[in-house]
Amino acid sequence: MDFDFTEEQQLLEDSVSKFLEKNYTFEQRKSIVASRVGYSPTAWEGLANLGLLGLPVPQDRDGFGGGGIETMIVMEAFGRHLVVEPYLGTVVMAASCIATAGTFEQKQYLLPPILEGKMKFACAFTEDGGRYDLDHVATTAHMDDGQWVINGSKSVVMHGAVADLLIVSARTSGDVNDRNGISLFFVHPAEEGVSGREYPTYDGNRAAEIGFENVRISGDSLIGAADRGLPLIELIADRAIAALCAEAVGCMKVLNDTTLEYLKTRQQFGVPIGRFQALQHRMVEMVMQYEQAKSMALLAAVKVDDADPVERRKAVSAAKELIGRASRYISQQAIQLHGGMGMTDELNVGHYVKRLTSIDTLFGDADHHLDRFAQAESAQPLNVTAFERPRAKWRRI
């Protein structure tokens, strides 16, 4: 048992932090959020230069060869800076999906442009009426004349409009809620029949509603095995959740530090308000919940690379549940302890609160994951041999 970062991981942490301190200050972020595209092409290029766009890509494909811990390190830093880049969809999900389950050609053609920062991805899984269930797939795909034909629509696709390529879940057999019969496809957004509408989300990010009407894509656009896509979807969603947990920890850290500083400087009744025990004990509770959240983000980061999907699911859902609860507590108390100032747009507090609130919603909130956690043990282990298990290096870093 060993809780230390390797020297390489320490370097990674240092370089991400330094990069963001220089390129992603609160003021810089404001203009990025307000820009036309809603992310920073310059920062994206910087991330490419640092090698971070190939974080989960194996080293023999020129990637960083990182696993859950490396993702955690990067995402925690992103959380501290409220990064709005399409990193989760492109790197944590798409790149790792391709590296895990892509064909030789898919890896060959798609990984290099991702690494170079020339190709961004969005994962279109969510549908109206499906809430957080990844197995709720009404969008269909069928074979016609050697091509796949997609019909349906996806909702609240994060960074959907800036994506150069979409990963879309579609039903190739069975009923809307069947666990079998789901497949994953690459779909070019410029393909005829794809329609979309972009909008801002309250946390400074962008999302899109995307429709597919008789969209014809080539036969080799399938990722992994047809009808057997759900285990792969769940795997990359779990990687995204573990990453979001780390991002939340970064957000909570800033909120706690900011609030503590405020308690020490804000004067009322002639003393710093941090002298009042009612506020002290609440601050202590915030710190305790942060430490517990950090522990769970760590557990999720380690277990997300576990070959056993039940082990993985239990840890990831437990983390998302606890972090959902902790985020809610810390967010609400951070505003409360800042008083009126906590309500302003000017202070960073509200912006962190908004991101923590949206993280709880992404890929299932605390209630959803409490349920998933409880069911994990009784769930039938899925057939996961459809894709290879992560390399040994991912487990012990």
Partner: protein, 398 residues
């Protein structure tokens, strides 16, 4: 970063597991797991088995009888003991006064008391709290006046856990009323057989006799029983409180209780369905389980930081608060799980030699009393509010 045990750690775990399997009497384990009443002999039997193996005081330096284990090994040891239902090693000797004597005691004190702590020859109790000094411990009034070779001790201690068994008491006494209240406190080792000591039971709301009042009337304590220097007792007391860190959260025991809770919730049925399938109850269990998973990692993170030489610090307060919250939640859920079977109150059935007729499932009988008893954990050892004050001042600088 690796949460898996190394092959050496796994081998150690197997060694501990085999030892516990061979040496822990099953009837004692059964009592512990089923929350039945332990008697002195149960604790002593297990402590002697650990002593024979050289494992009674893992936290002590090797030259005094410690094991020299790594923090992870100590964690494994606690896990294995707790999972098998071993009684806790009574903390007052091994975990509390022992390290104080090692750090500050006179050579003769070490020579006399340490071996007797290790062998369980002496049962120690803790003379800290007084009727007027709870959370404000430093306000204690028990006086010790120097007369020749003796201190004459007068006063009253309270909440003294298991003093009815004790041979020795480590006691905070006031040797001076001048200056800061902390500066007038000294640390005495008192033989419980000394004339003038009276132990009176306090019956707690669960009907049990666990704590006591200890009255001291003109008790003559030899001067050589003073630990360290006169007036430095508060420093030693604080050292003692921050010394024991790994066990404070009680993670290993809580894991055993969680397993027991799940067992009960699977046994109890409503309309033919196990309680654990009731989403409302299952969610409560899951939430505690998740909190416990997080706490385990938090404890391990603190242990890892220790290994880098950071001295014991106020993080222990966080572990105490979270740990006791979880312990209380578990006892509460166990009582809830058995529903109406929590009501029958037949305390004799929790002890040895009960031949009477039971009411309801055997596991249900002690659960209400246990729930009530565990309200203590957020009060003792520095109440959770005091712990929050410590974190606020020592970690946050408020």
């Amino acid at each position: 970063m690796d949460l898996n045990y190394t092959p050496e750690e796994l081998a150690f775990r197997d060694e501990v597991r085999a030892f516990v399997r061979d040496k822990l009497p099953p009837q004692i384990a059964r009592k512990v797991i089923e929350h039945k009443r332990l008697v002195k002999d149960d604790w002593v039997t297990w402590q002697k088995a650990l002593h024979a193996q050289g494992w009674i005081a893992p936290g002590w330096p090797r030259e005094y009888g410690g094991t020299g284990w790594t923090p992870v090994q100590r964690h494994i040891f606690e896990e294995e003991c707790a999972a098998a239902g071993a009684p806790r090693v009574i903390a007052f000797g091994v975990d509390m006064v022992g390290p104080v004597i090692i750090a500050f005691g006179h050579p003769w004190q070490k020579e006399r008391y340490l071996p007797r702590i290790l062998s369980s020859e002496d049962w120690w109790c803790q003379g800290y709290s007084e009727p007027g000094s709870g959370s404000d411990l430093a306000s204690l009034k028990t006086r010790a006046e120097r007369k020749g070779d003796h201190y004459i001790v007068n006063g009253q201690k309270t909440w003294t856990t298991l003093a009815q068994y004790a041979d020795m008491m480590f006691c905070l006494v006031r040797t001076s009323t001048e200056g800061k209240k902390q500066d007038g406190i000294s640390f005495l080792l008192i033989d419980m057989k000394t004339p003038g000591i009276t132990v009176r039971p306090i019956i707690t709301l669960d009907g049990e006799h666990e704590v006591n009042e200890v009255w001291l009337e003109n008790v003559e304590v030899p001067v050589e029983n003073l630990v360290g220097e006169e007036g430095r007792g508060w420093t030693y007391a604080k050292f003692l409180l921050s010394h024991e860190r790994t066990g404070i959260a009680g993670v290993s025991r809580s894991k055993r209780e969680l397993a027991f809770l799940k067992h009960i919730a699977a046994e109890q049925t409503q309309r033919g369905r196990p309680l654990i399938e009731n989403p409302r109850f299952r969610d409560k269990i899951s939430r505690v389980e998740i909190d416990l998973m997080a706490l385990e990692i938090t404890v391990l993170r603190v242990l890892a930081a220790d290994r880098h030489g950071r001295p014991p610090g106020p993080e222990a307060s966080i572990l105490k608060i979270k740990g006791t919250e979880i312990q209380q939640a578990l006892t509460e859920l166990m009582m809830e799980a058995v529903g109406p079977w929590a009501l029958p109150h037949l305390p004799d059935s929790w002890g040895d030699h009960w031949l009477g007729e039971r009411v309801g499932p055997e596991y249900a009988a002690p659960l209400a009393a246990q729930y009530l008893n565990f309200r203590k954990v957020s009060i003792y050892g520095g109440s959770n509010e005091i712990q929050r004050n410590i974190v606020s001042q020592m970690i946050l600088g408020l």
